[in-house]
Amino acid sequence: MPPITRRDFLKLAALTGGAAAMGSTQKFGIETLTQGRSLAASPDQKGVIIFVFDAMTARDLSVYGYPRATTPNLERLAARSTVFHAHNSAGNYTTPGTASLLTGTYPWTHRALNISGLIARKYVNNNLFHAFGKSFHRIAYSQNIYVTYQLDQFGEDVDELINPEAFSVVDQVIGSNFSHDRDAAYRAFDDFLTENSEIPASLVFGLISRLLLRRQLALYKNTDYPAGPPRTSNYSLFFQLKDVMDGVLEHLKRTSSALPRLAYYHLWAPHGPYRPTPQFANTFIDNYKPNTKPAHRFANDISTSDLRTHRSHYDEYIANVDNEFGRILDFMEKDGLLEKNYLVITSDHGEMFERGEDGHITPLLFDPVIHSPLIISSPGQTSRTDITTATSSVDVLPTLLSLAGQKIPDWCEGQLLPGLGGTFDAQRSTFTVEAKTNPAFAPITKATVAMRKGSYKLIYYTGYEGEASFELYDHETDLEEMNDLYPKQPAIAKTLRAELLDTLLSVNNKIKS
């Protein structure tokens, strides 16, 4: 018997009056799909709630020892969680970083390499939601439309997909109106015809939509955001952090499926532009001076003082995000959600303010831009466990499946996280891939690849101007990555280089074949 499709179900629901049972979800623009499946679930089956804070580097979080008090609420959560201290994202910007998190595979496998790229069409069923299966109520929300592209690719694997603009104060996301063809509509309208970041390709509607949007913004008044509300940097979506957290909070309260939930909330903040409320603005005008590092040849030559200013704003925005998240944590503690669910806090990638570079759209893969937080609170956990072994975002999917008692699929490239079923493996290598200007359908020839093995990290730059080059750092003695060991420790460099190049050759051969 062929599987029941979404459309089949909707037709059936309309015929039998079952549509009424779906309830009204118009308020948040939520598309609810409760497919024809058994609602029976084990009463002790735990759910999983994942919060992804876009562009949140672990390096600027006080929960990881950062001297500025940016995350008191995450510290509170960490007191009852497993905290991973050397967790690396598999990508340094949203598309590959999130795709690795959601598919448990490296960017060279899922191929979501480019800024608004997609997961290779033949692998779209290899995702977190599909792997958890229909015995979970699978919810997904992302303010970042690049992630929504991927969530849309997963199609019926997501039971409830909340529109990116759901909790916004001002927005103009036309693609969301095309529920049957959202991905193409986002790309055609919001990324091309009426786009806000470049000159729109539609001369008339592009202008009209832009004028309407600016008019709405001109009318927006809120003392929390005198310079205008925070916004996403890629689409016309303006929000108040409080509203977004309220929206998520309401959704957490409202979801009342008989099934355990698998909820994925991907929040834009603290991604730039950093716009903290007055309560947090200018709170980090202090004497903190991070190490000054020499400018990198691939950096944008941003001055040290500018980098420090940007970092302070970023830190203030993180403190703002943490404060808002504190309300969600309060609710989860009070409501007992932490006893019924695994709570995962992580990021898709980090952010850097050093070596003449800020942000994360960069060929550089230094620690701040790939070192993501990973905090997992297990139901009933009462004490903190710290894991210092290097881990990767591809490990999250198999670990969550294992914790939820689900089968780990063979396509998954990650391992179980130490402390949550996995073991310490000193010989294991993890990778981060930056290849935004490399075609997704071709072998990787223009990229930066970082390989972490034990305490060593080898970075390989290939395809850029000048010769291919390597850098080698030992995190045990040099977490700041100041001392390039590549010319100084040739034996280790040779071994690691051979492994990295062999791995790259192997994945490229797969693409060629």
Binding site: N114, L193, L203, V204, L207, R231, N438
Partner: protein
Amino acid sequence: MVIFNRLPKLSQIASVYAVIVLVIYIWTILWSFWKLPSWLFFLSIGEILTIYAYSFATNLLESLLILCLPLGLGVILPRKWFLDVFVSRGVIVVLSVLGFAAYILTQFNSREDYPGNIIRLFPIVLLASLVVAFFVGRVKFLTRAIDFISEQATVFLFISIPLSLLALLVILVRVIF
């Protein structure tokens, strides 16, 4: 009906519409060339063609919207002022409006600013274009030149209209099913 008596001949409408089509479609196609290299990096040919389908369907709607402007002026203004020399005067007006729209689009310096001082000039631009159109309509040489060029442009309608209708059909199928 009175309004239908105030509409120009179909051939005249086609000439003005052809100029609108030329500007609107070319604007989109040129910007697509800027995007195309990145699309080719990660989208399949089918996915790229879908973006073009949305674009051409949108272009069809916006070109029809702009066509309402000279048609409306033809209805509102005295016959001798506009309708008698519909093609050349209509072309001048739509080119002015579309040119001004293109200019405004280049004047947004950030994602949030509102170039109100420029936008407030729109009635003046429209009025100026009407004045220019009126005088151009009195110069035989210019009228003939504009008529000739816009008539030649109608050949593009034989491409744009079927293409846009096909695009619209494709989108309807994708959106409904």
